[in-house]
């Protein structure tokens, strides 16, 4: 087995070994987006990826404490490239994808946001 395959296997194993610290999430990924200047409408095409994520560090972000920021760690191989259009859903709540803190070919760590 290649080193990258070996690491991917162990990343998957790690997400399973942390048990309920890794929760099931649904990532809605926009595969294309277009803007029509005539109608002022944005059209997107989305695909949904089910994967596991470790969610940490809940902080309230704005001066009036109306924005909650969390950090999500996901398996890069499962989710592929992500963009600012994508949304992450878990516990019946939808979170906007924020800045990517770090992304390797194995693990992606990203900020996620929602209004209270």
């Amino acid at each position: 087995m290649s080193y990258s395959g070996l690491i991917n296997t162990n990343v998957n194993r790690a997400f399973n070994m942390v048990k309920d610290l890794a929760i099931e999430v649904s990532l809605s990924k926009k595969s294309s987006a277009s803007f029509d200047f005539t109608t002022d409408v944005v059209t997107t095409v989305a695909t949904t990826v089910l994967t596991k994520a470790v969610i940490t560090d809940a902080t309230k972000n704005s001066k009036d404490n109306t924005v909650i920021k969390k950090i999500a760690m996901l398996n890069t191989k499962n989710i592929g490239e992500i963009s600012g259009y994508d949304v992450l859903s878990f516990d019946n709540t939808t979170w906007r994808i924020g800045p990517i803190i770090n992304s390797t070919q194995f693990v992606t760590i990203v900020e996620i946001y929602k209004e209270t």
């Binding site: 926009k30 595969s31 294309s32 987006a33 803007f35 029509d36 200047f37 005539t38 002022d40 944005v42 963009s83 600012g84 259009y85």
Partner: protein, 134 residues
Amino acid sequence: MGKYENLEKDVFSIFGSTSWKNENIKTFPVNFIELTPGTEFVRVSVIPSGNGINLTSISGVLIIDIFTSAGNGPRRTSLIADKLDSYLVGKSVSTVSGNSTQFNKSALAYVGLDTVNSALYRATYSIPFNYFGV
């Protein structure tokens, strides 16, 4: 509709026209995330920040960031700016009866490598406008 929406419609009608689409220059507005922008595109910002001659009029600047492939010299930027000139300089647009947006003279500033993607070279095309409402 208010003056800001009418102004936006006037400006966007230029970039939604068949003739501009046939120029094959990818064009996006601000606050739109293009997933595959490529190495050549323009980004349109309408900045209605000036005074108008009455309460329903306003002036401002249309800013168009021109992104081209880095390292290939300024010619492509100049060609795109000239194309923009042919659609904008001295032109008047009206999408709502009685209102109109008039463009004046343009300017082009070479900014340098894009701060987000250094594979792109950015220049800023700007042209003042006056929107007249009734």
